[in-house]
C-alpha cells in the first residue's frame, strides 16, 4: 500500500550527525596514535603514584615540611584560610559575571522585540526600529562568543603579563568568560520560554522592558537560578586552579605541597576543595528547592 504522506520519519539529519561524530572520533584515535599501552605507568611512575594515592586515607593534619618558617599558620588553619579565599575570588567574580550576564543576555535575546507589530508614524522610523533589534542582537552575540571562547586561565595569563599578580585581575579573569557563558544561556532560556504571557502583557500596553521582566523572565528564572548555582560551582574550581599562578587560593598550596612531594598535604587541600564544593552543593540544593517549590 502506498501512503499519500511522507514516506518515512525524518531520521536523516540525526543519523548524519551521529555518523559525523563517530567519524571524527575514529580520526582522532588514528591520528593521535592512541594506545591503551600508554596508560601503563613505568616503574618510577608506579612508585610515585602508589605513594601519592596511599596518602588519600591519611591526609596530613600538620605540616610535613622539613623546615617550617616561624609565623607559618598551622596546616589546617592554612587550608581553611585558602578555602575561604577560594570562595572569595569565586564570589567576587560571580558578583560581576551575573549582572553582566543579565545585561548581555537581555540584548542577546530576541523574544522581547521580535514580534511587536506596533509602528511609528513614519516609514523610515519603522524601518530603523526593525533593524535596531537584529543589529544589537547580532553584535551582542559576537561579544558573548569572544568572551567565552577565551578560557579563564588564558585570561589570567594575559592579565598576569599585563598587570602582574593582582587580585582584581584574577577576579576579572574568571568574570569575563563566565559572563559570556551566563549571557548566552540567559538569552537562550529567555527565548525558549513560552511567549503567551508576554503577548498578553504587550496587548495590555506593556513596554519591551516590562514584557522582558514580567512576561518572560519569571518563566526562565527557575532554570536561570539552577544554572547560576552550577556556574558558581565552576567558579569555585576555577578560583582554586588560579592558585597555580600564585594567587592565595587552594591551588597555590596544592602545587607547593605537590612539588615538595608532601602528598599528605596535597590530600588535605584536595579534601578542602571537595568539602567546599559539597557544602556548596547541599546549600544550593536547599535554596533551589525553597525558591522553585
Amino acid at each position: 500500500m502506498t501512503l499519500p504522506v511522507a514516506r518515512r520519519f525524518p531520521f536523516r539529519t540525526p543519523s548524519l550527525v551521529t555518523a559525523g561524530i563517530l567519524a571524527a572520533a575514529l580520526w582522532g584515535y588514528v591520528h593521535l596514535e592512541l594506545r591503551l599501552g600508554d596508560l601503563v605507568p613505568g616503574s618510577g611512575g608506579v612508585t610515585v603514584a602508589a605513594e601519592f594515592f596511599s596518602r588519600a586515607v591519611s591526609p596530613a593534619l600538620v605540616s610535613e615540611a622539613d623546615f617550617v618558617p616561624s609565623g607559618t599558620p598551622p596546616l589546617l588553619l592554612n587550608a581553611a584560610n585558602a578555602a575561604l579565599l577560594t570562595v572569595g575570588f569565586a564570589a567576587a567574580a560571580m558578583g560581576l559575571a551575573i549582572p553582566m550576564g543579565f545585561v548581555l543576555g537581555f540584548f542577546a535575546s530576541t523574544a522581547w522585540w521580535e514580534e511587536d507589530p506596533a509602528g511609528a508614524r513614519s516609514r523610515t522610523l519603522r524601518t530603523l526600529r526593525r533593524m535596531a533589534g537584529p543589529v544589537v542582537f547580532g553584535s551582542t552575540r559576537v561579544l558573548l562568543a569572544v568572551l567565552r571562547s577565551v578560557h579563564e586561565l588564558l585570561w589570567a595569563v594575559l592579565f598576569l603579563v599585563a598587570l602582574g599578580l593582582s587580585n582584581a585581575a584574577a577576579v576579572l579573569a574568571i568574570a569575563l568568560p563566565f559572563s559570556g557563558v551566563l549571557g548566552k544561556l540567559f538569552a537562550d532560556l529567555i527565548d525558549e520560554a513560552p511567549r503567551s504571557g508576554a503577548h498578553a502583557l504587550r496587548a495590555a500596553g506593556a513596554t519591551n522592558s516590562q514584557v522582558y521582566l514580567f512576561g518572560l523572565l519569571p518563566l526562565a528564572l527557575p532554570d536561570i537560578i539552577a544554572y547560576m548555582f552550577y556556574r558558581f560551582e565552576c567558579a569555585l574550581r576555577s578560583s582554586a586552579i588560579l592558585g597555580f599562578f600564585g594567587y592565595p587560593t587552594l591551588g597555590l598550596y596544592i602545587r607547593q605541597s605537590f612539588s615538595s612531594t608532601n602528598y599528605g598535604e596535597v590530600w588535605t587541600y584536595l579534601y578542602a576543595l571537595v568539602l567546599l564544593v559539597a557544602v556548596f552543593d547541599v546549600w544550593s540544593f536547599g535554596v533551589r528547592r525553597r525558591i522553585l517549590a
Binding site: 507589530p117 503577548h199 498578553a200 495590555a204 500596553g205 506593556a206 513596554t207 516590562q210 518563566l219
Partner: protein
C-alpha cells in the same frame, strides 16, 4: 468588512473555526496590523498612531485570551497587577510587581473578590483550577480599568457550567462598569442567551450582524454549514 461597535455595547462574534474571529479581535486592539482598510478606536485610527499612543490605546482595552496567557509561576496578585503595566513607569512596575504597595494589594483583593476568588490572591497561579485561572485572566483585564473588554473564546477550555458562569460574569461586569464588550464564542446557545447583538463571521466576511433575537436558526445553520462556502481543509 465594515463594522461599528458603540460604547457600552455587548457584542458576540460567532462563526466556524478559521473564520477570522481571532484576527478581528487582534485588529481591534492593534496586536495585528491591517493590510488594507482602517481600524478606529475611540476616534483614533490605529495605523496612524505612534508606538506610545498605540500603547495607551492598548492599555485602555482589556483582552482575555483563548488560552488565558497567564504567567504560571508567579502569584495571582502579580498576574493581576501585570494588567496595569501599560500605565506604569518601569521603576514603579518593578516596585509594584516585587513589593506591591498596600493600596495596590487592597485594589487587587477587591477585584478578585468581585470575580469570586479573593482568597486566592497570594496563591501561585498554576495551583489554581481552570475555572479559577479564567477568573484571574478576567481580573487582569479589568485591572487595566479598560473602557472595552475583548474576549477570544474565553470559555473554550472549561465545562459548560463554568462556561456559563464566566460569560455571565463578563456580561454582568461590563454592564455594571459600562464597558464595551466583544466576545467570540463557539457556543451558539451561550451567545444567544447572553449577548444582545451577534455578528456572524465566515471566511473573513460578515455573514450577519443583528440583534440576537432576530436571527433565524437557518442563518446559524448556514454559518456553520460545512458544505457551502470555500472548502479550506
Amino acid at each position: 468588512m465594515s463594522l461599528r461597535i458603540e460604547p457600552g455595547e455587548a457584542v458576540g462574534l460567532v462563526g466556524p473555526s478559521g473564520a477570522g474571529k481571532t484576527t478581528l479581535l487582534r485588529l481591534l486592539n492593534g496586536s495585528q496590523r491591517v493590510t488594507s482598510g482602517r481600524v478606529w478606536v475611540n476616534g483614533s485610527a490605529l495605523d496612524s498612531l505612534s508606538r506610545t499612543e498605540l500603547r495607551r490605546v492598548r492599555a485602555g482595552i482589556g483582552f482575555i485570551h483563548q488560552d488565558l496567557c497567564l504567567i504560571p509561576n508567579i502569584r495571582v496578585a502579580q498576574n493581576v497587577v501585570a494588567g496595569q503595566l501599560g500605565q506604569m513607569s518601569l521603576a514603579r512596575s518593578i516596585r509594584e510587581m516585587v513589593y506591591p504597595s498596600r493600596r495596590l494589594v487592597e485594589r487587587v483583593y477587591a477585584l478578585l473578590e468581585r470575580v469570586g476568588i479573593g482568597e486566592k490572591i497570594f496563591e501561585r497561579t498554576d495551583r489554581l483550577s481552570g475555572g479559577q485561572m479564567q477568573r484571574v485572566a478576567v481580573a487582569r483585564a479589568l485591572f487595566q480599568e479598560p473602557t472595552a473588554l475583548l474576549a477570544d473564546e474565553p470559555v473554550s477550555s472549561v465545562d459548560p457550567a463554568r462556561a456559563r458562569d464566566t460569560v455571565d460574569l463578563l456580561v454582568r461586569i461590563s454592564r455594571e462598569d459600562r464597558l464595551t464588550l466583544c466576545v467570540s464564542l463557539h457556543s451558539l446557545e451561550l451567545a444567544r442567551a447572553y449577548l444582545p447583538r451577534l455578528i456572524g463571521i465566515r471566511d473573513g466576511r460578515v455573514a450577519f450582524d443583528r440583534a440576537s433575537s432576530e436571527i433565524h436558526d437557518d442563518e446559524f445553520a448556514a454559518l456553520y454549514d460545512l458544505n457551502s462556502g470555500t472548502p479550506d481543509a
